[in-house]
Amino acid sequence: MITRRDFMVSGITATGVGIIVPPVFAQSVFAATMEDVHNDRVLVILQLGGGNDGLNTVVPYADPGYLQARPNIGIPSDKVLPLNAEIGLNPVMPGMKKLFDAGEVALVQGVGYPNPVYSHFEGLYIWEHADPTMQQTDGWLGKLLASQLDSQGHPLAGCALGQASTPAELLAQNATVSVIDSIPTYQVEGGAGRRVAAPALYKRTPGIYGAIFDEALSTAEYGIAALADSQSRCTPSVTYTPQSTVYGSKNSLATSLQLTAEMIVTQPSVKVCHVVLGGFDTHQDEDTRQNALLAYVDSAVSAFMQDIANHGMADRVVLMTWSEFGRRVVENGGKGTDHGAAAPIFVVGKPVQGGVFGEQPSLTSTVDSGNLKYNIDFRSVYQTLIRDWLQADPASVLGSSFPELPIIKTA
């Protein structure tokens, strides 16, 4: 059963704008800002939902087996954006190429886990809970938040942005998670009376959902207050200037990442953000569909990094992509690919030690009749980000220890 934090019963005070702000938040926000240590290290998780095809994202263009396996959807070697003599990026990813050339992308090759599963939902569960045995019930980021990052229980330490449900990665006992689709809609609508009535309806709800309901409304109530509070009380005032030109053509991921930038810039307590782009389950017409999605990823991530840099926070943000699995080496009859196994992931940001890490898995020595073998356990990436980036203890989150990767610059 979820328990409420002490802060939620520690008393409330009213601010001049009529918004209830618990003192503990006001103090922590204020103190963090004054000491200029706020959100010094933020982790942004970008989930590519549906199973992104790694082979058409990072193309092993020097391997003749690649185009043999993919006569219709393979990307010719003269089209790829080469990263070295072996591999190159999908041509719709010039922004990622630029970031890679600037040394701000760690490309981790062949990421997976033993005995791969081919179900979306098992694959998701394994990545979300950092557990190939599927025994854990808490999401890895939720566990990290509740046990180490969020000792104040601030509602905005863990944010799911541009979405309406709590991602399983963030879902854990005692983890407070704000799920914010957009800031303008993240409020109690209908006037002052509703702003009083709505939270008052959810203080002592009986029944098996009582704590969960009350936690959701309390998190919303205090999150709304914190959002309003930072505008008026932070010294010096922290403002986010929308960089509409940076994001260029809008897509849902660009919108989510712009919201993420705004949250990081204006909210001192933000530590972990989750955004998602779906649609990568390209059983059919992968050439057009995946290219469109990767182009979104490329432009949105590039814009986000630029936006963060424009606000002087490039040193504070690292973004990691992941997907529940890669896809089958050999294309199917519908210009698509079926569910597969290992795939590359990107770790992006100025604090990142750029380069290619790990080996491109063999296209011929495969697992389960035609799927790529992993050579780096995904929990190695988690462990590195927890210890080297967030400066927390990975053992309590991951259970056991995994080899770390040199993907975060040492100061």
């Binding site: 309406a164 799920v179 109690v188 009986p206 959902y209 959701a216 059919q284 519908g334």
Partner: protein
């Protein structure tokens, strides 16, 4: 109406423990004193922190059934329902004949279809068929995107309405040949030479058996059995004809051409294209033969895991949030023995002890569409269909646009800070445009069984007008539950 005044009884106030573990806050009796001196006392003391269950009285049990098997009810409907012996009431609900969706102006516009469906859910007396249409939509999922500008969303919606209370074998065979499904799970281009695994995998994992009850080889062999399914357009005489060309015509012209074809009796339907189908020998789940789709489905439905899988999903939506293996088995067994008769499945659920016992009371969370339609019905406001469509996204439920092929979350999966704000803001929007309201005190009795927690009672009592009282009711935790 005059001043409504709900007062907490003294016993209830005294029953509220200060602090303590959330979820066990310690009030046992949830009692409201209603105006005019009449006091409705909930029938039994629940365990500490539980809702006090009214399911031991006829009205309480009837309301419980109607909240789950339908999208809501009026005071008159509840009175009628409560006057019937419970088994007769269950049969009456199960035997409701579906009412067709009223004509949709543009059947190629999925939003128009969804809007019409919301209105229909809010207005039709045939509530159970609509609830089952939504149930199957959430289980045998498809999204609108690949329908392009063809009337496939409407057609699948009609399929689930007409076949959703028959037998599951007929339903899943029809779904396998449904044009929207053919597109959604990529059967359209699956060939003998290169079968596409998408439908085969999700059929076994999500629609019938559950993960762990088939192998990767079964996925690949199943894909061969389902190869070659294609959508064709046939005219009223059953002769194949060409769909109108989307290219070169305006959306309005195109929609008109499609409508005209449909009006003339033409229909899209799935067929097995023999020259694209892999007719060779396959081995699926231990059975070998030149399997076609119907034979593959028979093999899948003969698996012992099939009935329990569907029973579990139905129980989570209609009965209990985490059904035990024993409960699943007790529901799956007659379902399977009854040759997958869906009414048998639902009758077993609705008459089970797990459904009628006090612990079942408010043990499920209304999904967003259920919540919004229940609000529309409580307020008699079918015109909120458009608002429901807009608001669904913030609660993570857009009909025909689910987050994944596994459909939507259920129960506590619906709960997040943002989603709850969206629910409360829907209530505010629904109230904002209303000038005269049904009696809110009656609504507390009818919609909430008069079983109200201290917060709802406090906010309700502090409200100054009927709009505010209705807000307290629709935004309350009680109204989110079923």
């Amino acid at each position: 109406m005059g001043s409504a005044n709900l007062r907490l009884s003294r016993r209830q106030v005294l029953g509220i423990a200060a602090g303590g573990v959330v979820g066990a806050v310690g009030f046992r009796y949830l009692t409201l004193q209603l105006p005019g001196g009449s006091q409705q006392v909930a029938s039994a003391a629940g365990p500490a922190g539980a809702w006090s269950s009214p399911l031991s009285n006829a009205t309480g049990l009837a309301a419980h059934l109607l909240r789950r098997a339908t999208f809501g009810y009026t005071a008159d409907q509840l009175e009628t329902a409560a006057s019937m012996p419970y088994p007769d009431l269950v049969d009456m609900v199960l035997n409701q004949a579906a009412e067709p969706l009223p004509p949709v102006a543009d059947p190629t516009d999925y939003q128009a279809v969804v809007r019409a469906w919301y209105e229909h859910m809010a207005t039709t007396p045939a509530q159970f068929p609509e609830r089952m249409t939504l149930f199957w939509h959430g289980l045998l999922t498809s999204d609108y995107r690949k329908a392009a500008r063809l009337p496939f969303v409407l057609q699948q919606n009609e399929l689930y309405r007409s076949m959703g209370r028959g037998d599951f074998r007929t339903l899943i065979n029809a779904v396998t040949y449904d044009p929207l499904m053919i597109r959604y799970l990529d059967l359209e281009e699956s060939t003998a030479a290169a079968p596409n695994e998408n439908y085969s995998r999700e059929l076994m994992e999500l629609f019938t058996l559950g993960v762990g009850n088939y192998t990767e080889t079964d996925v690949r062999e199943g894909a061969r059995a389902f190869s070659g399914i294609r959508t064709v357009l046939v005219d009223a005489a059953g002769k194949r004809t060409q769909p109108p060309k989307a290219k070169g015509s305006s959306p309005a012209e195109y929609a008109q051409a499609v409508e005209q074809l449909l009006a003339q009796g033409a229909a899209f339907k799935g067929v097995l294209a023999k020259n694209q189908h892999d007719s060779g020998s396959k081995t699926l789940l231990g059975h070998t033969g030149n399997l076609d789709p119907a034979q593959a489905l028979d093999i899948i439905l003969a698996q012992p895991s099939c009935a329990p899988h569907i029973a579990r999903l139905a129980l989570e939506q209609f009965c209990a949030p985490n059904p035990s293996t024993a409960l699943i088995t007790s529901v799956a067994t007659p379902f399977r023995a009854g040759n997958y008769d869906i009414k048998t499945l639902m009758r077993t659920i609705f008459t089970s002890e797990a459904f009628t016992s006090p612990g079942a009371y408010r043990s499920l969370v209304r999904g967003p569409a259920e919540y919004m339609v229940a609000s529309m019905r409580a307020l008699a406001r079918p015109d909120l269909a458009a608002a429901s469509m807009r608001s669904g996204a913030g609660m993570d439920q857009i009909l025909y646009d689910m987050p994944t092929v596994a459909g939507w979350p259920s129960n506590q999966g619906w709960v997040s800070s943002g989603a709850w704000l969206a629910r409360l803001n829907f209530a505010a929007a629904a109230i904002a445009s209303e000038r005269t309201f049904p009696d809110p005190v009656d609504a507390v009795k009818v919609q909430l069984d008069g079983v109200v927690g201290p917060d709802t009672a406090t906010v309700f009592n502090a409200s100054e007008g009927d709009g505010d009282r209705w807000y307290a009711l629709l935004a309350s935790p009680e109204f989110q539950l079923k």
